[in-house]
């Protein structure tokens, strides 16, 4: 394993850290009267990091990424407009 993209690694650290600490803070607050504001802030940061990553990926992705590659789990499902649903009836994307 080696680092491929340092910025993505930073985002990943924010997401995992936000999930771990935010989740733990929420769990610790069960039964208490006040809301754990810090936990929601951390989870919000995790969401933000994922949103930034998704935007970066959209910009980097060639618009014509094939649906077949997505089938194999090699990429993300496309950001699609309603018309992107308009696949032919024999589309095999969704499995059995």
């Amino acid at each position: 394993m080696k680092i491929r993209n340092w910025f993505a690694l930073d985002l990943l650290a924010i997401v995992l850290g936000g999930l771990a600490i935010g989740g733990w803070l929420i769990w610790s607050a069960i039964g208490e009267s006040s809301l754990p504001g810090e936990a929601f802030m951390l989870l919000g940061l995790a969401v933000l990091a994922l949103l930034i990553d998704a935007r970066n990926e959209e910009r980097a992705q060639a618009p014509s990424e094939s649906v077949d590659a997505l089938e194999q789990g090699k990429g993300e499902a496309p950001t699609c407009s309603p018309s992107a649903f308009d696949r032919p009836a024999d589309s095999t994307r969704t499995g059995p």
Binding site: G22, A54, S91, G95, P96
Partner: protein, 647 residues
């Protein structure tokens, strides 16, 4: 150019008139005559639908013309159904009506999507592409089934009051006391649920496992639907993760093991959205017809499932508004087909709703915080505005999966509906999807799931009932699992971009297994032994029933439970229907020497709070045996039985 159909009109008319005469002679009733005519004409229609392939008729008929007859017959059948519903009593036979209703939809579907010459699929190629996914999905479904049917009579331990009432009503269906599947019964629940529920008892007899089995099957069927839906939105891997998480989700397992129709909610909503996505993608008329039909079918389920047509309208509105002209051009026929299917399937229950609006909407009226006046009462008591109360409920509802335990009796889990890891992932997945679809206007395929969760939490938690109760939120089990899967998938994609050579599959599998094991641990190891759901009355009755079973009569039961609960609690009515029992409502002040006739034994059963009266009973009937009944996990006394043998 196609030839006209010289044969079809006389043939059809002949069938219709002959059928009418035959039916009237046979049953002596004009409506039955019409039904028989329609049935016969339908058979003729089905035959002529294949007429193109039959040598003598080749070229004589075309579906373009035949479908007109299909619609006409469907309309006639529907008219028959609605007319019969007006005249038949609640306990009169509905076999012909139900058959006509099913045929009406069948003909409607045949009319909108005529059968085509079947193409021979290349199964080998299909298997090469989908074989592994199919095997994994089949394995997940089998595991889900085992998790839902193993020890079904014992887990959950308690037969709660509503479960028992449902079982008693299902027995009524089997005994012919209830014959109308297009009405509502107890708690304004549609009777169709009771008809469905009754097959378990007819198959296995009146046992706990039998009454729960039909719903366990329905819960299991939700798993492949969850896969298909999530796979269509975000690909097969997210589909499989969603299916695994839902299969092992303790909340979904609990309601799959309950004799209540709530577990249908995620299935019907999932199916409706699945057909919606398919219809948009494939322009398939049959998908549009099923989309409308499932939306209508939801009206025959739990009251909460009435959200499904609303959700469908929201989803349709979102897509229509994003590109109105194109959407209308491409899908206007599909929308009409869906509307027609909705009318055909929903017509009988809608007719009932129009005739008896109070019965039909009773549950909504009781639980709706606006209509019941709850909101204004609470606002007055707290001295705040109604908006403040609503915002408070919104906070509670929003975090019922993460921070606040639900307050209902059906589950009674003393913690939020998700563990901390799954809960954090869920919030991130929900936040990601909500911002992407509603603020950034990206990933529109996520919108129906986002709308499902938000509309479900607003109607099921914020607007319903004094307390937030899990049975109204079970529909959200599927979108919750989807958002966890989505978060996992997005994190994995991010990790893949950050680090090269990452063992993606292993990491994902480990994460999903961890979440699943945690959920199963909560349900089977932590929750189940404590017998938390169902309430103390139902738990006491469920515990007492096997102790007393087989020993009454000649034993008579004297039950010291009032005012907390009495012997006619539904749980006992189902578990020990033949027991001879008397409620001792007023506390004893003297030894009850006149209670027991000679030659008869008795069980004197005291619940905590009335155990003091045991002293007086012992003085009247000395020499009996005392047995304390405990919940061993909670170390809580449920009842004391004083057994006096026949003397």
């Amino acid at each position: 150019m196609q030839k006209r159909f010289p044969l079809i009109i006389p043939l059809f008319l002949f069938a219709f008139v002959f059928g009418a005469l035959l039916g009237r002679r046979w049953k002596g009733d004009l409506a039955d005559g019409v039904l028989t005519a329609v049935a016969l004409a339908t058979i003729i229609l089905i035959i002529i639908s294949y007429g193109e392939r039959l040598r003598p008729w080749r070229g004589q008929v075309s579906w373009y013309h035949a479908r007109g007859f299909a619609f006409a017959i469907a309309g006639l059948l529907l008219g028959y159904v609605l007319q019969q519903q007006l005249v038949l009593g609640g306990n009169q036979d509905r076999t012909a009506v139900v058959a006509a209703w099913v045929m009406a939809f069948g003909l409607y579907a045949l009319g909108v999507a005529p059968p085509r010459r079947p193409t021979r699929p290349d199964w080998r190629a299909w298997w090469q592409v989908h074989g592994r996914t199919t095997l994994v999905l089949a394995a997940i479904t089998v595991i889900a089934l085992v998790l839902r049917v193993a020890q079904l009579g014992e887990i959950p331990f308690t037969l709660d009051g509503d479960e028992a009432n449902f079982a008693l009503e299902s027995l009524g269906v089997l005994r012919g006391q209830m014959r109308d599947p297009f009405a509502v019964a107890l708690h304004s629940q549609p009777t169709m649920s009771l008809f469905y529920s009754s097959w378990g008892i007819s198959l296995l007899g009146p046992t706990l496992a039998a009454i729960r089995l039909p719903w366990a099957i329905l819960g299991t069927l939700t798993i492949p639907v969850a896969f298909w839906l999530a796979a269509r939105i975000k690909g097969p891997i997210v589909g499989l993760i969603t299916a695994v998480l839902l299969a092992t989700y303790h909340f979904h397992i609990q309601f799959s093991r309950h004799n209540l129709n709530n577990i249908g909610d995620p299935l019907w909503a999932g199916l409706a959205l699945l057909f919606f996505y398919r219809a948009l993608a494939r322009h398939s008329r049959l998908d549009w017809a099923f989309f409308g039909a499932v939306n209508a079918w939801a009206l025959y389920g739990y009251t909460g499932a009435r959200l499904i047509p609303v959700l469908s309208l929201i989803a349709l509105g979102y897509y229509a508004l994003s590109d109105y002209t194109r959407f209308w051009q491409q899908h206007r026929l599909g929308l009409l087909i869906a509307l027609g299917a909705f009318i055909v399937v929903a017509a009988p229950i809608l007719e009932y709703g129009l005739r008896f609006p109070n019965d039909f909407n009773d549950r909504v009226r009781i639980t709706d915080i606006f209509e019941s006046g709850w909101l204004l009462r609470v606002a007055a008591v707290r001295g705040t505005s109604a908006l403040d109360v609503l915002l408070d409920r919104f906070r509670l509802g929003l975090l019922v999966f993460n921070l606040y335990p639900e307050g209902g009796g059906f589950y009674g889990l003393p913690q939020p509906l998700l563990d901390p890891f799954a809960g954090a992932l869920f919030l991130v997945g929900l936040g990601f999807a909500t911002v992407r679809t509603l603020i950034l206007r990206k990933d529109p395929q996520l919108f129906p799931m986002v709308a499902w969760w938000w509309s479900g939490i607003i109607t099921g938690a914020v607007f319903s009932g004094a307390e937030i109760q899990s049975q109204r939120l079970i529909t959200l089990a599927l979108p919750v699992c989807f958002f966890i899967a989505l978060a996992l998938w997005q994190i994995l994609q991010l990790a893949r971009r950050a680090v090269a050579g990452l063992p993606q599959r292993e990491l994902l599998t480990a994460g999903v297994i961890l979440l699943s094991v945690s959920s199963l641990y909560i349900y089977f190891v932590d929750y189940t032994p404590r017998h938390l759901g169902g309430g103390i009355a139902a738990e006491t009755m469920t515990t007492l029933a096997p102790i007393l079973k087989g020993r009454t009569p000649p034993y008579h039961v004297y039950f010291f439970g009032a005012p907390r609960f009495t012997w006619n609690f539904p749980t006992m009515q189902f578990l020990l229907p033949n027991a001879q029992a008397t409620d001792i409502v007023q506390p004893l002040t003297a030894p009850p020497t006149d209670l027991l006739p000679p030659g008869q034994g008795a069980f004197f059963i005291f619940i905590p709070g009335r155990v003091d009266e045991l002293r007086l009973v012992r003085r009247a009937f000395p020499g009996g045996e005392v047995q304390e009944v405990f919940n061993s996990a909670r170390q809580e006394e449920l009842a004391v039985i004083y057994t006096v043998p026949p003397r």
